[in-house]
Subunit: 453 residues, 2 copies
Amino acid sequence: MSQSVQVPTEGQRFSALHDAFDRGALRQAAQMLNALEPAEIAHLLESMPPAERAAAWELVDGASGGEVLLYVTEEVREDLLRDMDSAEILEATRELDTDDLADLVADLPKSITREVLKSLDAQRRARLEQALSYPEDSAGGLMNTDAVTVRPEVTLDVVMRYLRRFKEGLPDLTDNLIVVNREGGYLGVLFLSDILTNDPDASVAEVMTADIQPIPATWEARDVANRFEQHDLVSAPVVGEDGQVLGRITVDDVMDVIREEAEHQFMGQAGLSEDSDMFAPVLLSARRRALWLGINLLTAFLAAWVIGQFEATIEQVVALAVLMPIVASMGGIAGTQTLTLAVRGIALGQLSGQNAPSLVARELAVGAINGLIWAAVVAGVAWVWFGSPGIAAIIAAAMVINLVMAALSGAALPVLLERVGIDPALAGGVILTTVTDVTGFLAFLGLATLYLI
Amino acid sequence: MSQSVQVPTEGQRFSALHDAFDRGALRQAAQMLNALEPAEIAHLLESMPPAERAAAWELVDGASGGEVLLYVTEEVREDLLRDMDSAEILEATRELDTDDLADLVADLPKSITREVLKSLDAQRRARLEQALSYPEDSAGGLMNTDAVTVRPEVTLDVVMRYLRRFKEGLPDLTDNLIVVNREGGYLGVLFLSDILTNDPDASVAEVMTADIQPIPATWEARDVANRFEQHDLVSAPVVGEDGQVLGRITVDDVMDVIREEAEHQFMGQAGLSEDSDMFAPVLLSARRRALWLGINLLTAFLAAWVIGQFEATIEQVVALAVLMPIVASMGGIAGTQTLTLAVRGIALGQLSGQNAPSLVARELAVGAINGLIWAAVVAGVAWVWFGSPGIAAIIAAAMVINLVMAALSGAALPVLLERVGIDPALAGGVILTTVTDVTGFLAFLGLATLYLI
């Protein structure tokens, strides 16, 4: 008898739950909510406006609360923590592994952190301190300390008898055991599947895979993610500088890294953090976004100042005021295309100083071609509209200049920013549009001043 | 003795290879290249300009060529295929699994596809046709057909003896066996780790996990990815409408889905495909990007036309031409922030018709607050700059109007576009900036015409 396959997608289950809330059927909502995985509860809470979120959070079982806190984004976590007293926070964190606890601790109020630390025994406290010693976005920060290790000289049969002592099952996402020497140094990994497909009398040393390189604890999360993606890993051993096995990284954490990196690129372009809460308090959102608007206002004033230098010209030929935004905006669009390609290339580790000149050259060619094509179109329209071949010629020239400038800065800027340690995903767009606005207005109005007046 | 931990990151290995190419040390380059995993070779080829890419592709072993083709993005794949004759393509595809072959077939030249089909035996051809019957971005399209199945009534000991017959090892990323009834209907999964930690005399039925719901073949890839992320899955069974097990999905393919979805959002904003090749031929790139520039040119002309309606006003007060881009650009920036939040919310399944009104309300409040703040700043600067309280008052009013309009369209547009089946990640930005440009110019110049002249 096969089970029915009416599996509701996440969206469908979420709307059922929203409906229960809307109807005020709280007991039913609590049942539906606590039947979900902590990650699903987290996802659902993120999609709720503040009042509904607070009500739903009240209904979540205390024991799974800690895990839910792990899965929500930072801003939502702060929001949820705000509603909890210290007893509730202590209860929620009691069940967590030390490495998960390490991820939470940074967001806890200082006084609570002290209480949490006091509630730990010496061993757990030592582990927590070790986990906190690595940056969050390093291999050490991603690492779990629940690795199961075996010695190379024993037989698979012995390994199997050892594993049967794990009455509660192996740690989640264990696809291999880490083979270590007497000093805990890394030797290789023993896949569970290889334990099952090989002769039980074979030794671990014979069956283990020795050519999987361990991940140094100091690697950046981005490099770890690339390694997982390109070697199709489920879990990988992490080692210290001396080759000692410190723990392991699992694919679920790597998926989070990939998601966060990608969101950082996407949200960063609009000056937003990837941790943004869609339903953050209005005043908080307004304050966070004000900074970005302020920076952009400065660049807008710069562009306005450039236009201001040509007031006399515009006074004589008002058509220039009508047409000038076209030159600036086309430069911005073309430049953004190049910038986007380059930012992705850097994030994937595919663009660096080595191949950047090649990208710049190609983008210049693309910019020149599109500059010429659209210059012709814009010039034609401008000629018909204002009946002036002079204006048509000048806007055509300005378009070509701005699109070439856009290609150059779109390709070169991100590489330069990366080199001086500025995040191109965040700063690239603002600087680029400043360049294309200023170049666009300057070229168009400048040429007009020289040749029209 | 533990192995040294001088593990080079991907970036370091790639630059060593680039160096070998630059020095013309082709034999050394070939050795380094073929020591890499196919996914790594793919990643490396993507980062190479055309000439170097063609040279490197020549050096890749024919046998791993097929897998490399699988891993590169679509545009790069077309580029690589262009250089291969039909014999080479046939050799590269010979070693591939049918489900991998299915992913490639769409990009092969028609004549080659026929030859590939002819070279398959009846069983493989039937499998290929089944794989091709699902859309690429559905669970069926992501599925592999290499699942290992077991029956519920046998003991773990029998399962272990069965597994020892897999001399070549289990299929990659096998963390569980799928338990099926006599008709192949889905019953549950048996984790490898549970085989190892339980009594060998226990039956599969006793040890298997029955509460993992299988994934219907018709699910969208996005829903599959959410399921994997929220349940921390390594592999999951896929079933047909009747509950028959069709195959399984593995986490490596899901990581690709997450990566592609995220890149689609990021690249889509600039009118680029997530399959874009950084080093695509110049003419091809120019043509692809021309369409996006053309669309944006239309909207730029619309904005220019709006300005054109106020030529007489600008002629009298040239300061308006200087200040008007500020109003338009601030609206665009503020609107893009809201739009970005909303697009991400939709992609994560966290924003829908149900909570959209709540988002719109909050964004309107944020827009109004920031509108008032920046209106005051801009008005102050305008007053000092042009010494006109009238212009200051008018630009302040126009800023508030445009930022509120930006919030409204940024929040509501993506939800509306999604509902009518238009991809908000692609179209949202263009429509939004058209709205904020037109509103900005209309409000500022319109108010000036009414009250200044």
